[in-house]
């Protein structure tokens, strides 16, 4: 019997969210087909890959990774190099050093770093916070003001700080805001509703529905992403049609499979290679489950995942 293709299209689509400005601005979402189902219809915008750098420079990076960056000490030089990595669609600057329980870098210093990075690159910028909700309110407000007109994305607002961040980042400074819901699909929808009620347009919101390294409860992350996409497309639920962005590197580079030294577990082989494999495997799984963008750290991973996206387009 001849094969008869029956496309699975939905009368609903993911909203398109643009980040950045100029020639290299990116658009996430827009499709009305399942992830990578380009045979069913137009996948619209290709999924995107971001490269992550830290405000702390190369300190915590592996020696191999520091070498890629030429052991630079200036954040602007590091950013420039990152932005030139093959396959990098956007750059994510993570303020690990802003955490009050760590270096507690003052907001003014962070603003200077963000501005320097922004000036050094020509691809869109994502600002990733300190993971401290209180600190991020001050941090994001100040950076969003300094980067006005750059259409940057700020990650992320949560249940506690969404009101202030929606008003400052989203409304006052016209930047894009990510809503973080940590593997809770009902909260993901609720946060979109609440941020919308503050007055932020749906086209300015993306979702971080949770992340985990493959093997570390990843099935919860994957099923949350899949259910999110199905509610968006199948049920045409406008409150959950925002694109998904997933910070992969901030998970995968902290598990023992990535960090254990080869000397300690020789049977596992090169730590650097393990870290890269972990990052690629997790990113590919996130994209297949529904993520529209992933944030990675190693240039080798960025290139590999970007190639995967191109190959499946």
């Amino acid at each position: 019997m001849p094969f008869k293709s029956s496309p699975q299209k939905f009368n609903a689509s993911i909203k398109t969210v643009e980040i950045g400005t100029g020639d290299k601005k990116i658009a996430l979402g827009g499709e009305n087909v399942l992830p990578f189902y380009s045979f069913d219809g137009s996948a619209e915008n290709l999924k995107k890959v971001g490269i992550e750098i830290l405000d702390t420079g190369l300190e915590t990076f592996s020696p191999e990774l520091a070498e890629f960056y030429g052991n630079e000490t200036e954040i602007a030089a590091i950013a420039k190099k990152a932005a030139q990595a093959e396959g990098a669609d956007f750059l994510c600057l993570r303020f690990e050093g802003a955490d009050p329980n760590g270096l507690d870098r003052p907001v003014e210093e962070c603003v200077a770093i963000a501005s320097a990075v922004c000036d050094a690159i020509d691809i869109p910028l994502v600002i990733y916070g300190s993971k401290n909700g209180e600190k991020d309110i001050a941090l994001f407000g100040a950076i969003a003001e300094a980067l006005q007109g750059k259409n940057a994305l700020f990650m992320s607002a949560n249940e506690e700080n969404y009101k202030t961040l929606a008003a400052s980042v989203g409304l006052a400074y016209g930047q894009k805001l990510s809503a973080e819901s940590a593997v809770d699909i009902n909260l993901a929808k609720q946060l979109n509703v609440l941020i919308g009620q503050v007055g932020v347009a749906p086209e300015s919101i993306v979702m971080n529905v949770g992340a985990a390294t493959a093997g570390y409860g990843f099935e919860y992350v994957a099923s949350t992403m899949q259910r999110t996409i199905m509610a968006a497309l199948q049920q045409n639920d406008v409150m959950i049609q925002m694109p998904i962005i997933t910070p992969v590197s901030s998970e995968t580079w902290y598990v023992k499979e990535s960090v254990a030294a080869e000397a300690d577990v020789p049977e596992w082989g090169s730590a650097n290679e393990r870290g890269i494999m972990n990052e690629i495997a997790t990113a590919a799984a996130c994209l297949a489950a529904g993520s529209h963008a992933v944030i990675l750290r190693h240039p080798t991973s960025v290139k590999a995942v970007s190639n995967l996206i191109q190959a499946l387009a």
Binding site: I185, N186, L187, K189, Q190, V193, L194, R227, A231, Q235, D237, M239, I240
Partner: protein, 261 residues
């Protein structure tokens, strides 16, 4: 299954405001009611212009264009005994957000409304009655068969035939209520769609009683498989009940604010 479909009933010639607005072609009161109903969650807006024997064609054309142009082409149910008026309404109808509904056919004198819907690629509301109230569900199912065969014979999709079991007023026909719910179940078991003017059940009851009776009745009807209803979307208790049913049926993703959406 899918999300429950609400057909807003408030643009009805029986209301003096609407009657006057239709007569004078005054868009304001009609659009106000259309917008109120859409904001409250109506998927379709019913446009009942009454028998409209003389000017029906003009009135329906005007009403369809007026409402759709102002309300992002909201899909409509065209509700009149004047067949020419329904055809005229469909001739100017914008299908971008959904097919028109013809309201309504029955197995008796109005059976030809099925032909009209079939000829115009519309949805038909088909009352399970012939001459007045059906005496039992055997009768209802007999009418269903007649109408289903007629529609399918004319090339209609079964999903475009929404069967109305005919809701009966509790005050006076209390003993018939479970039978109506059973009828919904029987139609649902055949894989078919259902609808109806549900608030008829509370007719004649005090104003403070009607919303709770309507709400409980619709919850039980949805439990039996009911897929849509012609009702007042601005009845908050009714709409909250429907939203809760959609959540329990897993047709809408839960969020704490779901009642406000």
């Amino acid at each position: 299954m899918s999300k429950f479909i609400v057909i807003g009933e408030r643009i009805h010639v029986i209301s003096p405001v609407i009657r006057e607005a239709l007569d004078k072609r005054d868009p304001e009161p009609i659009l106000q009611r259309a917008k109120d109903q859409i904001a409250a969650g109506a998927t379709y807006i019913d446009v009942n212009i009454g028998p409209a024997e003389s000017q029906g064609v003009d009135i329906m054309k005007w009403a369809v264009t007026t409402i759709q142009e102002a309300c992002d082409n909201i899909p409509l149910a065209l509700d009149t005994a004047n067949k020419a008026a329904i055809e005229a309404g469909i001739s100017v109808y914008n299908r971008s957000k959904g097919k028109p509904i013809v309201n309504s056919a029955d197995a008796g004198d109005r059976v030809e409304y099925i032909d009209l819907a079939a000829a115009n690629d519309a949805i038909i509301i088909a009352l399970l009655s012939k001459d007045g109230i059906p005496s039992d569900n055997d009768e209802r199912m007999e009418y269903l068969q007649e109408m289903l065969e007629r529609g399918m014979g004319l090339g209609m999709e079964p999903d475009d035939m929404w069967f109305d079991p005919l809701f009966l007023v509790i005050k006076g026909m209390q003993e018939k209520q479970l039978e109506v719910l059973e009828a919904i179940k029987m139609v649902t078991d055949m894989g078919l769609m259902t609808t109806g003017g549900l608030s008829n059940v509370s007719n004649g009851m005090p104003k403070n009683i009607r919303p709770i009776i309507d709400a409980v009745f619709i919850a039980r009807a949805i439990q039996a498989g009911f897929t849509s209803a012609i009702l007042n979307p601005n009845d908050e208790q009714m709409m909250q009940t429907i939203k809760c049913c959609d959540i329990i049926n897993n047709e809408v993703l839960y969020a704490d604010s779901f009642l406000d959406l």
